[in-house]
Amino acid sequence: MSASATSRQRILDSIAATTRPVAKAPAQLAEGYAALPRGYQRIGQLSAEACVERMIERLREYDAEVVESTPDQLPEAIATQLGSSGRHTFAAPVGLPAEWYAAGFNWKMDSSLETAEIEKAEGVVTAAFCGVADSGTIVLHHSAMEGRRVLSLLPDWHLCILLASQVVETLPEYFRRCPQPPALATFISGPSATADIEMTRIKGVHGPRFLHVILVHDEGDARPTPQ
């Protein structure tokens, strides 16, 4: 480690020697940062309904399957989606509301499942932290309702429950919803894809090949509470 410690000093010295005329003291640094130009669009212009509509449209452009639901009908909507998938074994984080675990399916509840167990699941159901309509992006912060990172990765089929109140229009609006930066975050924009062979877009290389979204019109107040 001592070699790296010396290298650390050498690199920092070299940087200091080359940036000295411009490098700032901590207070000036914060000032310099605050003065950075931010003339880009930070707040969306669409109404809440139009914003949700755009989210759905963009998700569909990514070949994600989107259905809409009310909070009351959500458990039924989940059961319908699971049923029509033709799959039986589903993984899910332990923190989901009890009524989301539809009856008649084989559930693998994850808090610390072995990878091999998750690999055996045919699908996964999770909540989300935020949806960004502009790019059709779903952001996970991997809370108890969104599950560990591996959970929404290995199963080939992902059903994500997104609330209308979680949908924002622009990416900067998502960042405004994070006063504390998350330790873990995954931004998902459509199913896993590649265009490495002759720029032909192919769905599903390693991540889930099928992304299903239930968009819940919760009017901003009926956020389901975690268990």
């Binding site: 290298s7 200091a16 940036t19 880009y40 610390s112 896993s192 590649t194 490495d196 290389v205």
Partner: protein, 486 residues
């Protein structure tokens, strides 16, 4: 000097032939040129559509450019902040002054893990330090997991683009490589079937190999987090399943705050692949108990970068976020593809980055591998004025030449000295004009054009015609006209 064109591209700038020579194999290979042009046309069309749609594109560029410049001016402060936060979150930060030190740090870490195999997320920085051959020689099997990187690794090919590294390989070539190296007998050349083959080839590796290596798209100083931008999910696999993760990142990759991703992520995917957003972006912070690798190392690599900070013109080079928009827009890259640049960083950004990483000791032909048309500057999401840097580097190459002892034997040097002499004296200039008129007469065809010249002159006429000298110069005509008027 004329060497035989090498059959296999050399991407080590210390060993690669000069650009004009390295470009010949591609220029003579119509299939390769077709593959490159097709890929670029597709990305360019998608990018153009999505950039037009973004009404605040120029404001985003301005913000990104200022932010990256601010980071580089204060790089020491942001790097130490990153180090403190990453360490507090359970990560271990290493510093490497050059490629050799970075390779050794990574090998030592792998030895400590008793690793015999390692899975890798595509990282240009690891290609820059030639990590794979080093690890292989030390007995550690490296498995690239990005589809394009698998194609290159299994096919023994070299990357020719920084975002789509195998764009020079077409589907039937991929089919041949996969069939041979994966032992699949009846594989079709349908991209869907080829992708599926790669998926099953790698699945077991993801689930069993306990050590992974990644690069970094961004380091966040405020939190000590690392961000990876990808499409396939191989990145998420490598970031989630192994026990130990080693991230190799250039020191310039840092951003001040988490929020700053709101600028970079909007620019990167649109510029790189012509998508509104890439399928997956992952961000992690040190070690999270119960989720992902429980041992995490970051190797911060200098390898020539800190010396590029000294002057504002060259410093811009380090603003780069590796989107490859410049190579997609470049008329030279379009003709030559990436291998001609003799570096893992091709195209306009490679032409300014590579010679500087080499401290101007190698790759001196690259600043000339450009028409200075400015298309690269126009598309650059962080507004790197590449033509300006190219000119500055040309200046430095000329200064080097000027100091070279054997320069007086160089025909180019000699020619320019003589030209200097002639152009600075009117009587010599007029005499030279008269001599050239006589000397060139036998090369000038009836149409008034010179189609081929011998010796050094052939360098001009092999690609373009030269207009023959007129029988009278303007000066002569003017003098004759005044005499007549009198």
């Amino acid at each position: 000097m004329s060497h035989a064109a090498p059959t296999h591209p050399v991407l080590d700038p210390a060993l690669a032939p000069p650009f004009p020579q390295a470009a010949l194999p591609v220029l003579r290979n119509p299939q390769l040129r077709k593959n490159v042009a097709h890929a670029i046309d597709v990305i360019q069309a998608k990018r153009a559509r999505l950039v037009t749609e973004k009404t605040d594109w120029q404001e985003l560029r301005t913000a990104a450019s200022a932010m990256r410049a601010h980071v580089l001016e204060n790089l020491g402060a942001y790097l130490t902040e990153f180090e403190t936060k990453c360490t507090a979150a359970g990560g271990i930060v290493h510093w490497a002054t050059d490629a050799a030190e970075a390779r050794q740090i990574i090998l030592d870490l792998l030895r400590k893990e008793n690793a015999s195999e390692v899975i890798k997320i595509k990282t240009m920085t690891s290609a820059e330090i030639q990590l794979n051959p080093f690890l292989e020689a030390a007995g550690i099997g490296t498995y690239e997991t990005d589809l394009a990187e698998i194609i290159l690794q299994l096919g023994g090919e070299e990357p020719s683009h920084i975002v789509v590294p195998a764009l020079h390989v077409n589907r039937s070539q991929v089919r041949e490589i996969f069939a041979r190296r994966m032992g699949i007998k009846d594989l079709s050349d349908d991209p869907e079937a080829l992708t599926a083959a790669a998926r099953s080839y790698l699945r077991q590796k993801f689930l069993t190999v306990p050590t992974a290596i990644s690069g970094a798209n961004f380091l966040i100083a405020e939190t000590g987090s690392v961000a990876i931008v990808e499409s396939e999910g191989n990145g998420r696999m490598c970031l989630t399943l192994p026990r130990t993760m080693i991230t190799l990142a250039g020191i310039e990759k840092v951003l001040p705050r988490y929020q700053d991703l709101e600028v970079m992520l909007q620019l990167l995917a649109r510029s790189a692949t012509g998508e509104r957003m890439n399928p997956y972006t992952s961000l992690w912070t040190g070690v999270t108990p119960g989720d992902g690798p429980q041992r995490f190392h970051v190797v911060l690599l200098d390898n020539g970068r800190s010396s590029m900070l000294a002057r504002e013109v060259e410093r811009q080079t380090l603003k780069c976020i590796r989107c490859a928009a410049c190579m997609n827009a470049c008329p030279v890259y379009r003709q030559t593809g990436g291998h001609a640049y003799g570096s893992v960083y091709p195209g306009p950004i490679g032409a300014i980055l590579t010679p500087q990483l080499m401290h101007m000791h190698h790759a001196q032909s690259l600043p000339y591998a450009s028409s200075l048309c400015g298309a690269c500057y126009e598309v650059c999401p962080v507004k790197i004025n590449i033509p300006e840097v190219l000119l500055e580097l040309r200046h430095q190459v000329v200064d080097q030449e000027r100091k070279r002892a054997g320069r007086i034997f160089d025909p180019m040097y000699l020619g320019l000295r003589i030209a200097n002499l002639i152009f600075s004296r009117a009587w010599l200039f007029h005499a030279a004009q008269r001599m050239a008129r006589i000397g060139l007469r036998c090369f000038t065809r009836k149409d008034g054009w010179i189609h081929s010249l011998p010796s050094v002159g052939a360098k001009w006429t092999q690609t373009r015609d030269l207009r023959g000298l007129p029988s009278q110069t303007f000066h002569e005509w003017w003098a004759a006209r005044r005499k007549e008027a009198r």
